[in-house]
Symmetry: C2
Subunit: 365 residues, 2 copies
């Protein structure tokens, strides 16, 4: 059985528990997770009393037969109505209320009404983020994809640093584009997100967009970036200094590094996500910089760059083995500069596995 | 007045016509179009009786003040509820039913109910794709961004061809990654979409994903790719031949080129999108290959790679000056090979402006 078939079976078991006859999966990443399909249009109907149906349009007929050989194929421009007609006999039909739009639900209801032709119309019930909850726990193949995605990012940064590409006079935009191009050359499908390159005072802006600011001697250079491999996203931040390091820079860096180590050490099976955040945050608060750490500690990564679990003071839940998460505290001093250090890790029964292997010693270029 | 302010005024006028007191814009690209904001979380409330409100979270406070200086800022993790509370006094509130999810609507209703505290709750009414309709007509700045995005793609392909990168023995994946990396080096923010490189029999698959298939003498090489500049997407397909050209290849190429020229010639203000598709399709049907042209003729491009107007037999509406569209007929012979030729163009009062300038002569490498 393919890993996708096993995932569909897990969703089928959940559906049966909730007295659903079928679940209509519309979120495209969830469809990918449950089928292996990577195209831009597809939906899946998982039935407790099988067979399942996969719907896509004519552009993807060949691709669907290769990527999804074990699910019955429905080719139709309008995938959701096509699958809805097939589900019209269901008593209770599950759907993804966090994904389906208001218009999509209206269309779904209309199709079900028409198909019932005056007979019984299926009752609709949201399955909430059931597939996202499955996705939070990664299997060995997914972890291997994440390892490779992290390795590409590590390698790209190492090459740029070795070649002297991170030197005074270059602009944030130039550095960002070279990092992106290097990750592609090393086998990434795409950058994980819009690469952040922030130098000098810009490094105090958590999500600064690279601009024409030039790198200068004595400035922080904060790089937050990642690569996508097999659809899986890596995420890493490193903060370097160009040339001479001032005392205040060394102090802020040491503080964030200590906080980040505490956050990593708190990653364990059963740990509450709020407590993990606190383990790192308390270090920064104790040093009087609590107000300068303005975001959560981390987040899950996988087919999305941000997915479950969220690790922060507003999060809820506990960690489980196989979760892939980031740990990324930061201290941002407006107008001066900021430091963030971020790794991607896998929660295990023992110590977490570190996937982003670039050194976290303060690198002075 | 900024161009974004003028766009908000146009939406405000439309809202007033529909007796709406305010419109809640949740589609992130529509928010970008109406404000200039490029972050990953934002929503906009346009009020007929002003002032407008822009909502984003704390990561983007600095960016919002730079990019959206002329709209009152609301910083809140939950942007939609925050703006909804501000709109609680409205009699009728417009929203985007094609974008807001079922969960999003439920949350919106809950916030409005709570804010009303037993008083009158705003009536909700969909504005449908009102902002997308605005976006279909590009202004001079947008056209200039599209020109630059097309020029980057043209230049990337020219450089790869000149350097001999498109030669037998290389794989589709290698060629695709080099095209992507070259576009980034030339100033693209990202490829417009997953670059299609399809050679030999793979060229008969309209949306083939690049794989480890090697380029071979005598094969078609189909490249469908584009660059993003200022958020605007270019889209171009060229089909080349490596080495010797067989007669059947020359014939198919000439047919698609003739069809594509007919499609371009049909682009004019007031033209029905179905008629434009037919102008190109009739050429292919007359040659007996109607069944081998399996998709629509083209689509609008802009902040999205596919946007209004759709140009196909299932489309509706007419062209207007300032629309940016693709013209991309193809003939696909399963198991043998296929040809697609695609340009991005601007509809004008006279002849359309061609933005993708790479030659459409059959290029033999």
């Amino acid at each position: 059985m393919s890993r996708e078939a096993a995932r569909r079976d897990a969703l089928r078991a959940l559906a049966a528990q909730q007295d659903l006859d079928a679940v209509l999966v519309t979120n495209l990443l969830n469809v990918r997770y449950l089928t292996g399909f990577t195209g831009s249009n597809g939906a899946l109907l998982v039935r407790t009393d099988g067979p399942d149906l996969f719907g896509t349009d004519g552009r993807y007929t060949t691709q669907a037969s290769t990527q999804v050989p074990d699910v019955e194929l429905v080719v139709d421009r309008a995938t959701v109505p096509a699958l809805a007609r097939a589900a019209a006999g269901a008593g209770r039909l599950g759907f993804e209320s966090h994904d389906l739009t208001v218009d999509g639900l209206e269309q779904l209801r209309r199709v079900l009404d028409d198909a019932a032709a005056g007979g019984r119309v299926p009752e609709l019930a949201s399955v909430r983020r059931a597939v996202e909850a499955q996705r939070a726990i990664k299997d060995d193949d997914e972890i291997e994809s994440l390892r490779r995605a992290c390795a590409v990012a590590d390698q790209a940064l190492a090459e740029l640093a070795a070649e002297g590409a991170l030197r005074p006079g270059r602009t944030e935009l130039e550095v960002g584009r070279e990092l992106d191009a290097r990750m592609l050359a090393l086998g990434a499908e795409a950058p994980s997100f819009e690469t952040i390159v922030a130098t000098g005072a810009n490094s105090a802006i958590p999500h600064h967009r690279p601009d024409r600011t030039e790198l200068r001697e004595g400035d922080f250079l904060k790089l937050d970036f990642g690569a996508t491999v097999d659809g899986y996203h890596s995420d890493m931040t490193r903060t370097l200094v160009l040339g001479h390091v001032a005392d205040w820079q060394r102090e802020v860096y040491a503080l964030v590094a200590e906080s980040q180590a505490a956050g990593r050490a708190a990653l364990s099976v059963g740990a509450d996500v709020v407590a993990v955040d606190s383990a790192a945050r308390d270090v920064i608060v104790a040093a009087g910089h609590g107000e300068h750490f303005t975001h959560g500690l981390g987040h899950g990564v996988g087919l999305e760059i941000h997915e479950a679990p969220g690790i922060g003071q507003l999060g809820a839940g506990t960690l489980a083995a196989g979760m892939a998460v980031t740990v990324e505290p930061g201290v941002y001093l407006p107008g001066h500069g900021g430091v963030r250090i971020e790794d991607t890790l896998i929660v295990t029964d023992g110590a977490p596995e570190l996937l982003t292997l670039t050194s976290k010693e303060l690198l002075v270029l």
